[in-house]
């Protein structure tokens, strides 16, 4: 069954690149959101297999969005994979606390990034 992926990133270029990667190489269905708020709305209305989420975003950053997802019974079971350019130890500690499924560091290889997601999610490919 086709996987349904939500990409949340405020950088339009990165959204485009990840979307191509997901759709062209993995053949999954990609949806995009340019902010945490937009991402939350989609998460509440769509059936999603995973959310690929940036951390540094205006208005609502990735940490806040994760907390909002966990606080809502409708969305608390959706796995989250973080796509981040953050590199500090403090940030890693915060990801661990958020109970995210995995972290992929930017920049990443667009051809294989979907494989990383599948491995994190333990999906057979």
């Amino acid at each position: 069954m086709t996987k349904r992926i939500l990409i949340v990133d405020d950088e339009e270029d990165i959204r485009d690149v990840v979307r191509v990667s997901i759709e062209e190489f993995a053949g999954w269905l990609a949806m995009t959101a340019a902010s945490g708020g937009e991402g939350l709305q989609i998460a509440r209305t769509e059936v999603l297999d995973v959310i690929l989420m940036d951390i540094s975003m205006p208005d609502m950053d990735g940490f806040q969005m994760c907390e909002a997802l966990k606080a809502d019974t409708q969305t608390q079971n959706i796995p989250v994979v973080v796509l981040t350019a953050k590199a500090l130890q403090d940030d890693s500690d915060r990801f661990a606390k958020l109970d995210v499924a995995g972290v992929i560091t930017k920049p990443f290889n667009p051809i294989t990034v979907w494989r990383q997601v599948a491995e994190i999610m333990d999906w057979s490919i």
């Binding site: 405020d10 950088e11 339009e12 270029d13 990165i14 485009d16 690149v17 990840v18 191509v20 990667s21 062209e24 190489f25 540094s56 975003m57 205006p58 350019a85 953050k86 590199a87 500090l88 403090d90 940030d91 930017k106 920049p107 990443f108 290889n109 667009p110 051809i111």
Partner: protein, 1243 residues
């Protein structure tokens, strides 16, 4: 010991007549049995009566209830029969004659009711009623539409056919005027109606009514109803015949009477006429029947309600009461009576107790009378029998009593019918005969005895008397007594010893009487008695108590021992005086440590030697008594001759004192001091020697030790290495002088001891004037108060050096009034030098401690602070005094305490010498301060750890720098990786060939890569520029430039993007020359203009303006005094530090240099106030996404700030959110020296 109860009984009951003893034990149980039987019978009667009463009232009430129920069922039944007849088609209510006939038939059928009737909604009304008071009794009442208020009353024939019209009435329309119709129509149900007037008559009626409907249409056909007259109900209750004095009462919930068995009038009619009479039902408390009213009041009081019997509402259950009426108990039962048709009554049944208890009481009274009669008979018979039996015994008793009283001729008859009584009488008569004979013998012996006594009494040489015991009144005295006391017989007989004043001492008399009282006789009691002539005689008194002629008397005998007693007393006095004298002497002689002796001059023998001889000489006194010169054997050989010479002198008659040594038998040497005196007679002849000798060895030894110590002291004084000892004396009238100075003074002060002893003032020559003045003051003080002297003084040595001395002396006052100071003066010059060095060292340490830039603390190993420096106090916010009361544990962050204590412990165990720790303190204000602490131990001279010294460095700034560095790396990392991610992603996708056949998508990817490459290039350039600007590696090349040119160049550069964004640029140039780096200023203007254009909406305007501010040689110019509107936010940033920036605007306030103020204003979205300052920090944009949307790197304003700062200017922004933003920066115009300096700076 407790007394047995039967003994108490026996002792309390005595002397009871035999008649009582024989009758009472039989009569008392009989009376008791009768009383108990009578009481039990009465009590059982009471219980039986009570149970019977409750049972009867219960049954009566039940019967009344049952019969009332049946009675009241009738009207309901009649209505139902009528309604059923209509429903089943048996009766057509339109058929008037059939209706009338049915109503007549029903009335005939049921005699309990008084009227049966029917009314239709149209106004047709038929009523058949029975009035037994009239004759004939049956009537038909008719009303018809259209005049339903017109009532026709016909007499009814016995077959039910209407007879003559007897009355026509008006004014009643039952449909509106009677509740039975209205209730039935309103509820549609059968039921009871409120009590109302019976037609136009003065009766009350209880009506039952039921509506009837057309079965097909459900339309109301009419209402059937039945009257029950309430007086019929009372009659019915009366007919129940429950009891002559009992009552049955029916009332409603409010206590209004419905019916009673007393047939009293229960209502009163008032105003109104015919069919509309007002009436009032009587309440139970208003009843005319006394019992009923009392019951009502009882019920009201019982519930505590004063104005109504509301409590009856609560009587939903059957209740029983016992209530007293005129003192008689009434059994009351109240039972609610309710039915499904809305009846809610209370049935009260009252039955007086007397109704059924009279017969029982009569029976009980009869039983009681019979019991009493039986009892009286039993008592009478018992008493008669006892009387007969006791008559003889009473006679025996009387005769015995007379016999006992001395009447010995008592004899009893022996003819009684009882055998035992005759035996008793014979025994009594024999006993009386024997008593008579014994009495006669005793009488004879007594007379002989009395005669003997009288002879002895009269002829006795000892004074004797017979007196009464009670008063001591003399009954008889003998001649010896009269002679002894010198009284005549008549004077003594009949008087008491007290009256005759015979007793010398009343105490002796009391003693004598007490002895008599106690032992009834006295033997040889020594007593002083007074004769008539007043002479005191000592007698031995003997007395005995005897009963003479029926009264207790005293027989008293005296023996005169006056002479013997006097001789005895004299002897005792002499002996006592001698004994006391001897005792005193002996005690003195034996208790003193001195030897005392008396030696006869004639014989040379010792007359007395005190025991001290044995102690001092170690020889026995006995040896000296035997050989008077044996003490000479003990003399020390060295003193022997001296003593013998002294004895020679002594024998020539002069008192002698000598001190000599003896050798004790143990070989011990003792010193003796002896004092000998002579006792001579009147002729001068020596009778004896008396002497004292004492052991003075201790005194001799002390004197010797004193001499030795003085020699030693002198040796010490003379040998003191750097000092001397002295004795200084103050003698009144002579002043101060030295009595002794040791040789050391010469070495110390260069003065010979003799010099100073001769001239005490010589010593002042080496002193300093101020020290001497102080010393004089101290010594004067010591002279007055005998206080010790302690001084430190300087002296000049022979070499001219200063020498320090410490002088200590202690004064004492001698018996002759002199005051002596024993003192020592020692050289302390070296000590003084060491002290000075130590003070300097301590001062250095103190300054190092107090002024240290880091916090320093000294704590005990328990953690208690001992010393802290100012920096430490500043760091923690406590004062030094506060910290010295605390421990370091109290101010250490709990999470860091274990680490700290562990370090301390490792130092204490010697594992480490010191340790370093990053820890947190909690300040007095509660703030957390991170510090770097270095701790080490300080030991005491024994090597025991004493204190821990801690150096504490505030590392808040260091941590802040570290945090900022981390944040910067994080931001730069993000800013670099983000475009790289897009580039890498786009190129990766292109490289994969996935868009080979979709060129437009491939182009999009390519564009992404290009855009992000540009962004990356700009970012790298900006970072490098900024770094160069900051590090000063690129020096701005300043030159003279026209401000207007710079502005135009900047405008030209941004014009294309302004056009693209449809923004108008407005420029107000300033034509003046500026000393600046033109490229840098143009870049600053371009950056600020680009920002303004980017954040403006299409159609907006951006203004660029430059103004000259300040004046040559005038004050600081407009900028200092600029007023800032309240709603306009502003900030500025310049060469000043953050702290200085928070102060009021004062650009070069001390230097009145003119400057140019540039301003770039837009109509964009504005900047929130909290962002106005941080936008000049690296990567700090108002909105993070601005860098993407607006193409900025987040470094533009930072670069501007750096350029302006390098020119010595300031930059800031003001904004109204949502309206406008204005960026300002200033550049100073350099002149004169500044100009030259700037030239040289710029190379």
């Amino acid at each position: 010991m407790p007394i047995a109860p039967h003994r108490i009984f026996r002792s309390s009951i005595t002397n009871l007549p035999l008649r009582w003893v024989l009758t009472v034990p039989f009569i008392l149980p009989t009376i008791g049995a009768v009383v108990v039987v009578g009481y039990l019978a009465h009590r059982n009667d009471q219980v039986a009566v009570e149970n019977l009463g409750h049972q009867l009232v219960e049954e009566t009430n039940a019967r009344v209830t049952q019969e009332l129920k049946e009675y009241l069922q009738t009207p309901i039944l009649i209505n139902r029969l009528n309604v059923d007849a209509v429903s089943q088609g048996l009766l057509d209510v339109e058929n008037v004659s059939a209706l009338e006939s049915t109503l007549f038939y029903r009335l005939q059928q049921f005699e309990q009711v008084s009227a049966v009737f029917f009314a239709t909604p149209q106004g047709k009304f038929r009523l058949v009623d029975r009035l037994p008071e009239l004759h004939p009794a049956l009537y038909l009442v008719i009303a018809d539409p259209p005049n339903p208020e017109q009532i026709f009353i016909y007499r009814l024939n016995s077959d039910g056919s209407p007879g003559e019209l007897i009355q026509t009435n008006e004014g009643l329309d039952v449909r509106y005027d009677r509740p039975w119709y209205q209730r039935a129509v309103a509820t549609g149900q059968p039921g009871w109606n409120p009590i109302s007037q019976y037609g136009s008559l003065e009766f009350l009626t209880l009506d039952a009514s039921q509506p009837v409907y057309d079965r097909a249409t459900g339309q109301l056909l009419g209402v059937f109803a039945v009257h029950i007259r309430l007086d019929y109900l009372s009659e019915f209750l009366h007919g129940l015949n429950i009891s002559r004095d009992g009552r049955v009462i029916i009332m409603d919930q409010s206590g209004a009477l419905i019916a009673t068995s007393t047939r009293e009038q229960l209502h009163q009619f008032g105003s109104g006429t015919d069919y509309h009479r007002q009436f009032v039902q009587r309440n139970i408390v208003e009843s005319q029947d006394d019992l009923t009213r009392s019951l009502g009041e009882y019920l009201r009081d019982r519930t505590g309600e004063l104005d109504a019997l509301d409590a009856l509402n609560e009587l939903d259950e059957t209740q029983n009461f016992d209530f007293r009426y005129n003192g008689e108990l009434q059994y009351v039962k109240i039972k609610p009576h309710q039915d499904q048709y809305g009846l809610n009554w209370r049935i009260v049944t009252v039955i007086p107790k007397s109704h059924f208890s009279k017969a029982i009481q009569d029976n009980a009274r009869q039983t009681l009378l019979l019991c009493l009669l039986t009892l009286a008979t039993a008592v009478l018979l018992g008493m008669l029998a006892a009387d007969k039996l006791t008559a003889r015994l009473a006679q025996l008793n009387r005769a015995s009593q007379k016999l006992a009283a001395g009447n010995l001729d008592q004899r009893l008859p022996t003819d009684s019918i009882v055998y035992e009584l005759n035996g008793l009488a014979k025994a009594f008569n024999q006993m009386a005969d024997q008593l008579q004979q014994s009495f006669d013998r005793i009488q004879t012996a007594l007379e002989e005895s009395e005669e003997k006594f009288t002879i002895v009494f009269r002829t006795s040489p000892d004074p004797m008397a017979i007196a009464t015991l009670a008063e001591g009144r003399m009954l008889e005295v003998n001649d010896s007594l009269l002679k002894f006391f010198g009284y005549a017989r008549a004077e003594m007989v009949g008087r008491t010893a007290l009256e005759l004043n015979l007793w010398c001492s009343l105490v002796q008399r009391q003693h004598y009487r007490a002895l008599l009282q106690r032992q009834r006789s006295v033997r040889n009691l020594e007593t002083q008695l007074r004769t008539k002539s007043g002479e005191i005689k000592t007698v031995l008194l003997s007395a005995e108590i005897r009963t003479l002629e029926g009264q207790d008397c005293l027989i008293v005998a005296h023996r005169d021992i006056t002479e013997r007693a006097r001789l005895e007393a004299d002897r005792k006095t002499t002996e006592n005086a001698l004994r006391e004298s001897e005792e005193r002497f002996r005690q003195i002689a034996e208790n003193i440590n001195q030897l005392f002796f008396v030696r006869s001059a004639e014989t040379g023998q010792f007359l007395y030697i005190s025991p001290a001889y044995e102690k001092i000489w170690g020889r026995t006194c006995e040896s000296l008594y035997q050989d008077p010169d044996s003490w000479l054997e003990s003399l020390h050989p060295d003193d022997r001759l001296f003593v013998l010479n002294s004895i020679q002198t002594q024998t020539q008659g002069s008192p002698t004192h000598r001190e000599y040594r003896i050798l004790r038998p143990s070989g011990e040497v003792r010193w003796i001091a002896a004092e000998i005196s002579l006792i001579v007679n009147k002729t001068g002849q020596t009778l004896s020697y008396t002497g004292f000798a004492e052991d003075i060895t201790d005194r001799k030894q002390t004197e010797q030790a004193l001499q030795e110590r003085e020699a030693m002291l002198r040796a010490i004084g003379d040998n003191l290495p750097k000092g001397f000892i002295y004795q200084r004396v103050y003698e009144p009238g002579k002043g101060f002088y030295y009595s002794y100075i040791s040789a050391g003074i010469e070495r110390l002060l260069g003065l010979k001891p003799e010099t100073v002893l001769e001239n005490p003032k010589a010593i002042r020559g080496v002193g300093f004037a101020e020290d001497l003045a102080h010393a004089d003051q101290v010594i004067q003080e010591s002279l007055m108060h005998l206080t010790p002297v302690e001084l430190q003084m300087r002296n000049r040595t022979i070499n001219g050096d200063i020498q320090w001395s410490s002088i200590r002396s202690t004064p004492r006052r001698l018996a002759d009034g002199r005051i002596v100071w024993d003192g020592i003066e020692v050289d302390i010059t070296d000590l003084k030098r060491a002290e000075a060095a130590l003070r300097a060292s301590e001062e250095q340490f103190r300054r190092a401690f107090d002024d240290a830039p880091t916090g320093v603390s000294l704590v005990r190993i328990t953690g208690q602070f001992v010393k802290v420096n100012a920096r430490y106090c500043d760091l923690l916010g406590y004062t030094e005094a506060e910290l010295l009361l605390m421990t370091f544990q109290e101010i250490t962050h709990p999470a860091d305490l274990d680490k700290d204590l562990e370090g301390l412990q490792r130092m204490l165990t010697g594992e480490i010498d010191s340790f370093q720790l990053e820890k947190r303190y909690i300040t007095k204000q509660g703030a957390i301060v991170p510090v770097l602490m270095h701790a080490a131990l300080i030991y005491d001279p024994d090597g025991q750890p004493l204190y821990s010294v801690g150096h504490v460095q505030d590392i808040r700034d260091r941590l802040k720098v570290e945090r900022m560095k981390e944040e910067f790396i994080s931001v730069v990392s993000h800013e670099l990786r983000t475009p790289l991610t897009s580039i890498r992603g786009a190129l990766g996708i292109l490289g994969s060939g996935v868009f080979d056949d979709r060129p437009e998508k491939a182009k999009h990817m390519l564009q992404i890569a290009i855009n992000n490459s540009d962004r990356l290039v700009n970012l790298v350039n900006d970072i490098l520029n900024l770094e160069r600007l900051k590090s000063g590696k690129v020096q701005l090349v300043r030159e003279q430039c026209q401000v207007a040119d710079l502005m135009h160049q900047a405008i030209d550069s941004v014009q294309p993007i302004a056009d693209q964004a449809e923004i108008t640029l407005s420029c107000i140039p300033l034509f003046t020359i500026l000393w600046a780096a033109p490229d840098a200023i143009i870049q600053t203007l371009i950056n600020l203009l680009s920002n303004a254009i980017k954040f403006s909406s299409a159609g907006g305007t951006v203004w660029l303006k430059a103004e000259m501010k300040g004046e040559w040689g005038v004050g600081s110019g407009e900028i200092e005094n600029r007023e800032v509107s309240k709603d306009a936010a502003y900030t500025r940033t310049g060469t000043t530090t953050g702290k200085e920036q928070s102060e009021p605007l004062s650009f070069h306030s001390s230097s009145p240099a003119p400057y140019i103020l540039f301003s770039i204003k837009d109509q964009g979205r504005g900047i929130p106030q909290d962002k106005l300052e941080i936008i000049f920090e690296q990567f700090q944009q108002v909105d993070v996404s601005d860098s993407r949307k607006k193409g900025g790197t987040g470094l533009g304003l930072v670069i501007c700030k750096n350029i302006v700062q390098q020119h010595g200017g300031q930059i800031w922004a003001e904004s109204r959110l949502g309206e406008e933003s204005t960026f300002y920066f200033t550049l100073p115009l350099l002149v004169g020296d500044d100009h030259d300096k700037a030239d040289s700076d710029c190379g």
